[in-house]
């Protein structure tokens, strides 16, 4: 990675830039939280953060360790129930959500349940959906922030925990998921990716500074298209880095993990 910033800092900046002002985001701990906090300090002062355990529009004094801990509703405008938050998503009021997983496929489907074996006898048991299936079903735009390697970017997830575009165009709607919702962006340590409107398959939007197309394809277990013209990801500005390091994550909980 270039001098001046690390991969995690770049990922947080990329994620932050995608969050429009005046919109709502259901976030988790770590990168999503840092991205939302950075967005609020740059172009999106009116971005509203929600945590699934019940915190609405908190003023975070520091990174929460859990979406359920008291930091996640520090000086919030409301501390409510998980159902109230999820129902707000279900009504259609929440624009963004950030998710992760052990595996992701070309349609943005995520696995956080098990690796290997057959259900119910996994080789490796992972936590399961948590709120991910719900947030991915009910929020308008799903963002994923993850490291980019072939173990993660797979042709077929071992278990489809959380819906992306499922089997492709029209599949979400056919399953009953709300029309107009779905995967939006994937931010990795190599690139920013989106989805082809027609095929609903993942494709590269921009390569991070110094990263080649071949490198991204080599790290991806499925065929990966490109949106032309393929651009380069803008590196973090010095102002973004300053805010991230001084105000958002001074203890380097997130940006120290790279």
């Amino acid at each position: 990675m270039s001098v001046g910033y690390n991969a995690m800092e770049l990922m947080v900046c990329c994620a932050a830039r995608l969050l429009e002002d005046g919109r709502t985001a259901a976030v988790g701990t770590g990168v999503p939280c840092a991205a939302a906090m950075l967005a609020q300090r740059t172009h999106a002062p009116n971005l509203v953060i929600l945590f699934e355990a019940g915190g609405i529009a908190p003023q975070l004094p520091t990174m929460p360790i859990s979406v359920g801990d008291s930091r996640a509703f520090h000086r919030a405008v409301m501390a409510t129930s998980m159902a109230d938050i999820m129902e707000t998503c279900q009504r259609g009021l929440i624009d963004y959500t950030f998710l992760g997983g052990a595996q992701i496929d070309a349609y943005g489907n995520l696995n956080s349940t098990q690796i290997g074996g057959e259900h119910p006898r996994p080789k490796v048991r992972l936590p399961g959906s948590g709120g991910a299936n719900d947030l991915a079903s009910l929020c308008w735009r799903i963002l994923v922030v993850t490291n980019h390697d072939r173990r993660r970017f797979v042709e077929k997830v071992d278990f489809l925990t959380t819906p992306g575009y499922l089997s492709g165009p029209g599949a979400r709607e056919a399953a009953g998921l709300p029309p107009g919702s779905g995967p939006y962006r994937v931010i990795t340590d190599l690139a920013v990716l989106g989805y082809d409107d027609g095929t609903k398959r993942m494709r590269i939007l921009s390569l991070h500074p110094g990263v080649t197309l071949a490198q991204v394809r080599a790290a991806t277990g499925f065929e990966l298209g490109v949106r032309e013209p393929l651009t380069a990801t803008d590196p973090p500005t010095s102002e973004e880095l300053r805010l991230l390091r001084e105000e958002v994550d001074p203890l380097r909980y997130v940006i120290g993990r790279h």
């Binding site: 355990a53 915190g55 360790i65 801990d69 509703f73 129930s81 959906s129 948590g130 299936n133 399953a175």
Partner: protein, 339 residues
């Protein structure tokens, strides 16, 4: 409203609202004094084979004292709702796979074995990968809705998540088309736990409860469960409850036992009271890596103590609690309060 598809997961518990009504018909409703010790409450209200549910959010506002007591009393073959479960699940898993039978027999999973930003629990993974625990998949919202259905007294509620995924396939949900709009929906069956436990800030002797901060699914769990054990940081007079009835979030007739347990969510976070003890949680996690080490750890902190107070005394006692209170209230800033 045709049945379009259905999950193949096992349905633990009975979603019938008629049969639940028969139970609730005989549940005592008078404003009696329900104060007792945690040992007595667990002894009387948690039975082998029960479906058990636990409030809070994994490591925030959890009823640690009751979870420890369940394992200490060697309760067996519980069914459990793994709804945002983290440290609570870690504790229950201590009753499996270590030569003391099996506290857990079946789990409705939304989130287990994980500890959010803290990592994964090695022992919970051993338990869940052993094959000795049956499980069915859900999500946080749909499991919350299963409690809400029971709280409402209906056998199911509709949701717009789960659909199209393996989580649905291995759940016990069903998909239908809405008879009014044709929209496809997942229906999730009511979940009436046999017994549930909540930790709250304040309660009176009858079980009227106050909670500060996010309520997660506690209000629905309290109403859904057939028997409810409440632990509270502080008992307060019924007069204080009546002074401001808008602050009561669980009414007394849901509650069977009230136990006053200061620091009752330790080592979890209790909003406005104390932050989580990340050091002790790291110690716990590290101890789990090896079964022998874990047995010794549990002997020291769980089996070898007589009650919850002795546990937190062994974890640093009052001065540690004061430090966690300072962290919670951000009194240590700007030096960084979670270091």
């Amino acid at each position: 409203m045709d049945l379009l598809s259905q999950g193949e997961g096992a349905l633990f518990g009975d979603p019938s609202s008629n049969r639940a009504r028969q139970f609730f018909a005989d549940k005592p409703r008078a404003l009696t004094d329900k104060v007792m010790t945690v040992r007595e409450a667990v002894g009387r209200f948690v039975h082998d084979g029960d479906y058990f549910a636990s409030g809070g959010f994994g490591c925030s506002r959890i009823a640690t004292s009751v979870l420890h007591e369940i394992v200490r009393q060697g309760k067996q073959r519980l069914q459990f709702a793994g709804h945002t479960a983290t440290h609570d699940f870690q504790i229950l898993c201590a009753g499996n796979g270590l030569g003391r039978g099996a506290t857990l027999a079946a789990v409705d999973i939304s989130y287990v074995v994980g500890l959010e930003a803290r990592g994964l629990s090695p022992h919970a993974r051993r338990v869940m990968e052993s094959g000795e625990v049956a499980f069915t998949e859900w999500s946080n919202f749909t499991l919350a809705l299963r409690f809400k259905a029971a709280a409402m007294g209906v056998p199911f509620l509709p949701a717009r998540s789960l659909l199209g995924t393996d989580t649905f396939r291995y759940s016990a949900a069903r998909a239908v088309a809405c008879p009014f709009t044709g929209e496809r929906l997942a229906l999730v069956p009511a979940l009436y736990p046999d017994v549930a436990v909540l930790h709250v800030h304040e309660a009176d002797c009858h079980g009227n409860c106050r909670i500060l901060g996010t309520t997660v699914s506690d209000l629905d769990i309290a109403r859904a469960a057939k028997r409810v054990v409440v632990t509270c940081e502080r008992l307060i007079p019924n007069d204080e409850i009546r002074r401001d009835p808008s602050r009561t979030v669980v009414p007394f007739f849901c509650v069977d036992a009230v136990c006053e347990v200061p620091y009752g969510s330790y080592p979890g976070n209790m909003p406005y009271e104390y932050y989580s003890d990340e050091e002790h949680l790291r110690h716990w996690l590290a101890a789990e890596k090896d079964c022998e080490t874990y047995r010794a750890f549990l002997e020291q902190y769980l089996y070898g103590v007589t009650d919850f107070e002795e546990y937190w005394q062994r974890c640093g006692g009052l001065s540690r609690m004061q430090e966690l209170r300072r962290q919670e209230l951000l009194l240590n800033r700007p030096n960084g309060e979670t270091g």
